[in-house]
Subunit: 363 residues, 2 copies
């Protein structure tokens, strides 16, 4: 198997900088749009293991330079399995039929059963692992407890997070109870993905960055630590010393890297506002770094895309034992991306990072 | 006149922490909604000096504890005066009839004449100064060159800034030419507001934080430095040694405070992700700090609002000569705010910060 991604998460030396792209199985690919049309809806696509497997592998088939696959699924499968009724209104984002308003709603939230309520996800993981047949590692994922809570309380996306923040400021106890339940479910969900075959897991803390300093630590970071603690316990119960590596990505969390790096994760996802060299100096000895090209850089011409990719690699600096860099975007790839530009990007990362290592060896 | 705000910007000792609120003249006030209804439209309100003056003073009349007034106007008056045709579709954000697409559009952008094209703004400033009659200082403002460019290229608001970033990545030269024109116009605009009576100016860099590290410095920060350089030159030409103080607020710019503090401004606006104590340690000897309560904290009960306000004051730490803190929100106040909660907030800031100073004097 291509071990470059997993070795980098372990901060071991590799022959090049590994790369994958958030949302790499997505609407920018015509083959994805064809499968999506066949499925009839986004949720049907996500809930049918054969189709989820098909789209997960599409970018790997098109781009042999990708170093990892990521499970194709939705970020809101867990609250859906808790009974909130996920749906997608045409041309809009995700919505829930029922949203969390008060104590009774929180108390009624069940811990979903991973092999029944969320069996379609685990079946997809198993099928993808089997179909990948060792080509590249498979990443599983979940939304963070706070990010899930945002959607669960707002009932969908939000501009100002008024409902979820009102609950947090007025009823911090109830918010923490909701987050505790979410953390239990997220831990069970990631654990089940690992048992089904995921070789790394990523927590998308998409909305952690909307919280104030102090509140982020209490309402987003601490629940992500609970998830890590639970994962570690589960692995220990299984007699496995080292859990599979985890990546935590708090969008807009650049000010809190030291604190995020301390919760037990193996890597930090970084958005493009963070200078990789500074991040490396701050936390590079403790965690690997993943990121951080602006997805909109892919809108430029291929040569310009490549120049921007080199800027990212150069900002991280020369490879060195004990630090690790996984090249990625700082957010999901845009549906408006030209697939040829992705080819240019991947070639630049592979070429430049291989040469970087040779220059280090010669020096 | 109440000098507490201006003294704090100069980092001189004051008897309490001054406070004003971004968008303090706004929809959360019933008296504002009444004037807005009388005006017929938001733009009519902004473009009629008597009405702009009326709403600017409304929060001062309701809240005697406010330490500053801010000109009521729109952030997009400058591109409107450049001929782009600002309008507001019902229930939506600002839109332009014409947007910037290519070289010809940029080349055609005129430098507006401040006393004809934007006379309604200068008349409002003069009328507000006269009507305030020395109660509190008046803050003028402008959008940053980059923030204006975002709206000018997108044609309105945006989720992903695809158009403006595509232009930036594909045609950095043309983007810089647009920013140069915007910077000239912003400098002339702020300068005219100062000559009309503004006693401090604020630059709202609302969208600087969507730029990657390295690109922020080139496409948002540098143009704001050009504005400051131009303001300084104008004041020197007028034989005035010290220009009026300026505040720069880059939302999401917490990683770049040192660089922003170095462009010649007197204060930094901070959003709520930034810890005030950390910011003080980083740049507090060079600039005053303004912020940074989450506007959504005002959704909680009054006692909870006050507790959150104290957290902000405590995070800044004890007042001391050579540092300055202007209490504010980290973003504009929400239209859903209960005006009574603002009273609770202002009382807490005044009481606590006065006592803080007495405790320092006694120590």
């Amino acid at each position: 198997m291509n071990q470059v991604f997993l070795k980098t998460l372990a901060r071991e030396a590799t022959v090049h900088t590994p790369v994958w792209l958030m949302r790499q199985a997505g609407r920018y690919l015509p083959e994805y749009r064809a499968t999506r049309a066949r499925a009839g809806s986004f949720l049907a696509l996500a809930k049918t293991p054969e189709l989820a497997c098909e789209v997960t592998l599409q970018p790997l088939d098109r781009y042999p330079l990708l170093d990892a696959a990521i499970l194709f699924s939705d970020i809101l499968t867990v609250p859906d399995a808790m009974g909130l009724g996920l749906y997608f209104a045409e041309g809009e984002g995700p919505r829930f039929e029922r949203r969390i308003e008060g104590e009774a709603d929180v108390a009624a939230l069940p811990l979903p059963d991973m092999e029944t309520d969320l069996r379609y996800v685990m079946d997809a993981v198993r099928l993808i692992r089997k179909t990948l047949d060792g080509r590249v590692p498979l990443i599983g994922f979940s939304g963070s407890p706070w990010t899930l809570a945002c959607y669960m309380v707002e009932g969908g996306g939000s501009d100002d997070f008024r409902r979820v923040k009102t609950l947090m400021y007025k009823r911090p106890d109830l918010m923490l109870e909701l987050l505790r339940r979410n953390a239990n479910a997220v831990a069970a969900y990631l654990n089940a993905q690992i048992q089904a075959g995921a070789q790394a897991v990523m927590i998308f803390d998409t909305w952690g960055g909307v919280l104030g300093d102090g509140l982020f630590q209490k309402f987003s970071l601490a629940p992500m630590r609970w998830v890590h603690d639970a994962l570690l316990r589960s692995r220990q119960e299984d007699g496995i010393e080292k859990p599979v590596p985890s990546i935590v990505f708090t969008k807009g969390g650049g000010l809190w890297l030291e604190e995020i790096a301390a919760i037990g994760c193996d890597a930090l996802g970084l958005d493009w506002t963070v200078n990789l060299g500074s991040a490396r100096a701050r936390v590079g000895q403790r965690v690997a770094l993943q990121g951080n090209l602006d997805p909109m850089a892919l809108m430029a011409d291929p040569a310009q895309v490549q120049a921007q990719a080199l800027r990212v690699l150069e900002s991280f600096g020369l490879p060195q034992a004990g630090v690790g860099h996984v090249f990625n975007l700082g957010h999901g790839i845009s549906q408006f991306t030209d697939p040829e530009h992705v080819t240019a990007l991947l070639e630049a990362v592979r070429d430049f990072s291989s040469k970087q290592r040779k220059s280090v060896e010669c020096a």
